[in-house]
Symmetry: C2
Subunit: 569 residues, 2 copies
């Protein structure tokens, strides 16, 4: 049973299958906002589409109470004033159940084809989505385009191809024939049907609503489930646009659009989410956010398969370098990018208190710390250039955390507020860097300080640095880990620490790749092996539990006996 | 990195990979206890090996307190008197952690090779294991051989091949090269390492210690985990022999045998198990047993991936048949086999109260019920033949349940005690069959009555039968479901009910295949889609969460640029 949308996108799917097998570079979505690729008017049209949302009620023809909800505020200070249809969770669950039966019956090729068509249309809406990501998360415009558009679409497609890679292994039919000695064989015809779990719930975050939301959304959809998308109250628009496009594709393909619905909520929606998350109809939950909320889901939503991404402590071990400036530039970029508001941004940078070896000779701890601080300062000294890197701070909680962190130790580089040339009301804060000590300050640096906050930590030795990195990742979680060393034995020891901590390792990054960036189809995001995430994006484990297989079997004439009989005849 | 044991068994592994892809018939283990296959003296040697255990302390050179434990009683009434070394769970956890590091580092081919070698040696011990299964579970000797030996080994191998099928998809290395327009591409070398979760805990049951224990044991081992095997206190010996063989293979292969250890316990070991199950070192739990204990694990062992098989209500819908006698014979065999002490044995048999169509004309409800009862009676009337089918009752709880069930409705066929010709003290009880009504007796038949207890339930129609079957499976769980109908539309409706209930469907079984039997590599056992089990044996979902992937990445020279440079040169 094929589907026209499957056929339409089959070549892309085949390339994606090859990509996850070799894990080399590949993407069908252009990451540069080039007019040649996206069209000469695409950027202007996208911005116009975004502006058309401002001060309006977002139209979505799904079950609604008739009321509206919505209180997003742009970190760049512009007025948004967007309202969304308010929906009763009960009504969305009912609508999903009703939509589910025809969707389920359509089968894997329809699920995959529809998912790929949605991604293709999302790609065309990348500029509108980029603006909506920028003005809800605070990401600068280039990052909002890349991470909110093509890179998010890549992670969505990655989930689809993993789902397909698993589903295609289940034959739809089988002939089973068991020899019975001198008697005729037992023969059965078997039929296997892939059955979705039911309704999925995707709980979005306020920093990467699409990048962190798409994997769960598309993993659910591609395996035949219905999905209720509940954005963070601070970043609804990017997922509202996404849901609207998904519903258009579903309707165009002849399905009930309530396969995908939006649950827009007001701030402090915790009780509503908790009530919804334990509903028996909700079989899958994908969550990105705080450890507190993620752990609550893991411990209470027993009826569902729960995938969580929570807090972590990302770490860099500096042992020795050829070119300290190149290393410092690379690390500084990772610290400044989106003001450290990435789940992958480094926080703890361990440097031996005796200093390190470089190609230019020995460099003291203080000079390493200074080199890092100077590099960050350079990146952030010119406000006009800086804001294109740092973006704005998503919420006041992050600003307050910076103030709180300042008390933890000696300030190496203080956080500055910057005036954004284009958005005078933008909330822009440059990175705060502190010097800490591995012996005295462990209580401070074993926890996540989400935002533009990092610590250069003096250790007794690289061995202690690696020991800290491995054990903190294991106990407190981590999504990224980097090592700088010119010594192969140290790099091997770092890989051992990475294995112990269940975290991916980046080695000697000095060029155009940064520790907080991962490439879909090649780099796993998270491992599922430490408390920062219970799953990786994406792998078989991320998709295989989103569907089940139901089979039948019935006796048929044995083929062997038939062959024998016809030979005899 | 290959391993001699991987190479030794690679051809078998390749055949197993082909089998799970086509899901046709295949097995490397002979299911008939034939001297030609197993050797002329194998049966006698196996029985001697079993008898040598009686009245002794089972030798196992693992961490032990020096005390012994063990109180198994043969359902056939012979004295066992076997004691096992008592172990402190803490000591086993420590030993597993110590054994883990070299085992982890050996990599997937070593894990798979060692697992396959263990299965191969278990196969050679099939007669000894058969005797031990018989005298702990109460299975008759042929079933104890087949289900306890080769069929259990098949389910173990199936888990290994699923694990390998997933692990082999992760490349050990990758070259990633991203074009940068006119600039040289970014190139990175990546390394991927499969990392086990840690220590697994396998909680055995008292009816199928090996068949239900091997999938979890081998899924854990084949993905590099250490395993603590905790048998049911009533059926320790089969898993003790298994653990001993596993440890021999590990030691022969140069690994610390504490990768696999046995935790033998006394009856009422609940508190000990609960304490162990929530230990942070335990990352995987495989459980077969009561809904109460399984649900406790699902709700409390948050630190672990928990796989459970629990209670269910297996059902048969009789709509119409060509040959009532053939259908009744097939069903009767399923009811009598091991006295219904199978998680797959049918319990509720729905028949329209208006009767059914057959090739010989209309047959009333009462006559259908009678045909079923007569068939069971025939199978169980001659004690000498009957006991080879029914075996013995595992424990007094089952006997008491039969007495309790007798009060639920009109007795169609009463349970009899039989004298076993070879074992005068054997606890043999034939099936109890009752007539119930779909309208009046639902409270009785929506729960599992584990043991030789079945209900012929009068329904308003086949439509009601199917509605009950689907909804009871969905709400109360089911591992098997069968339909008898000559009407294709009814069979399709039954398949819809199967999908709704998340349960496999057997259609018109009248020959040598029985609803309570599944074939490894072809039939999934359980689906994970209803409360009877949260996983299927075996599929990708059963293995994919037992390992994680840790990676590294480092810049290397681009291949494209190198090629260009060498062309220029």
């Amino acid at each position: 049973m094929t589907h026209p949308l499957f056929t339409k996108h089959e070549a892309t799917l085949d390339q994606a299958l090859a990509a996850i097998e070799t894990r080399g570079y590949w993407s069908p979505f252009a990451e540069m906002p080039s007019p040649k690729v996206y069209g000469e008017t695409a950027a202007a049209n996208g911005e116009a589409a975004f502006k058309a949302h401002l001060g309006k009620t977002f139209e979505l023809d799904q079950p609604s109470t008739g009321e509206t909800v919505g209180d997003e505020r742009s970190p760049f200070g512009i007025g948004l004033g967007i309202k969304y249809p308010k929906s009763d969770p009960d009504a969305l669950i009912r609508a999903a159940s009703e939509a589910q039966s025809a969707w389920r019956a359509a089968g894997p090729k329809a699920w995959v084809g529809v998912s790929l068509e949605i991604l293709s249309r999302l790609n065309r809406a990348s500029f509108e989505i980029a603006q909506s990501v920028m003005h809800t998360t605070g990401q600068a415009s280039m990052m909002a385009f890349q991470a909110g558009g093509p890179h998010a679409q890549d992670r969505g497609l990655e989930a689809v191809v993993y789902a397909w890679d698993q589903m295609r292994r289940i034959p739809s039919e089988a002939h089973w024939e068991k020899p019975q000695g001198k008697n005729p064989p037992l023969a059965m015809q078997k039929r296997f049907t892939i059955v979705p779990r039911g309704t999925g719930l995707v709980l979005g975050c306020c920093t990467f609503p699409t990048w962190n939301g798409y994997p769960g959304l598309f993993a659910d959809l591609a395996t035949g489930n219905a999905v209720i998308v509940k954005p963070h109250p601070g970043a609804i628009l990017p997922l509202a646009i996404t849901v609207r496009i998904a519903r258009e594709v579903l309707r165009d393909a002849g399905f009930d659009p309530n396969v995908v619905t939006l649950l827009a909520t007001a701030p402090n929606d915790g009780p509503l989410v908790q009530e919804l998350a334990v509903r028996p109809e909700i079989k899958l939950i994908d969550f990105t956010g705080s450890t507190q909320n993620g752990t609550w889901l893991e411990r209470n939503a027993h009826q569902a398969q729960v995938y969580t991404e929570k807090a972590g402590v990302n770490q860099i071990v500096i042992d020795s370098v050829d070119d300290l400036k190149a290393a410092a530039r690379n690390i500084a970029f990772s610290l400044a990018l989106y003001s450290g508001q990435m789940c992958t941004a480094p926080q703890n940078i361990y440097v031996p208190r005796e200093g390190i070896r470089t190609a230019d000779g020995h460099v003291s701890f203080d000079d390493v710390a200074k080199a890092l601080a100077v590099s960050v300062e350079k990146l952030t000294s010119d406000p006009a250039r800086a804001v294109e890197l740092t973006g704005a701070i998503q919420n006041d909680g992050v600003v307050n955390r910076v103030a709180q962190a300042r008390e933890l130790g000696a300030v190496l580089l203080d956080s500055q507020t910057l005036a954004h040339p284009a958005f005078p009301e933008a909330r822009v804060h440059t990175p705060l860097m502190l010097k800490l000590d591995a012996r005295a300050d462990e209580a401070s640096f074993i926890k996540e300080w989400f935002g533009p906050i990092s610590f250069v930590v003096a250790t007794d030795s690289t061995a202690q640095s690696l020991e800290l990195a491995g054990s903190i990742a294991q106990e407190h979680g981590a999504l990224t880990f980097a090592v700088y060393s010119t010594d192969d034995a140290v790099i091997e020891a770092a890989y051992d620490a990475a294995i112990r901590g269940g975290v991916a390792l980046s080695i000697n990054l000095t060029g155009g790749v940064f520790v907080n960036q991962t490439a879909a189809y090649s780099d796993f995001h998270g491992t599922g092996a430490n408390p920062a995430a219970n799953a990786a994006l994406s792998d078989a484990a991320y998709v295989a539990n989103r569907f089940r297989v139901v089979q039948s079997r019935v006796h048929v004439a044995p083929k062997a006996a038939t062959a024998e009989a016809s030979q005899t005849a």
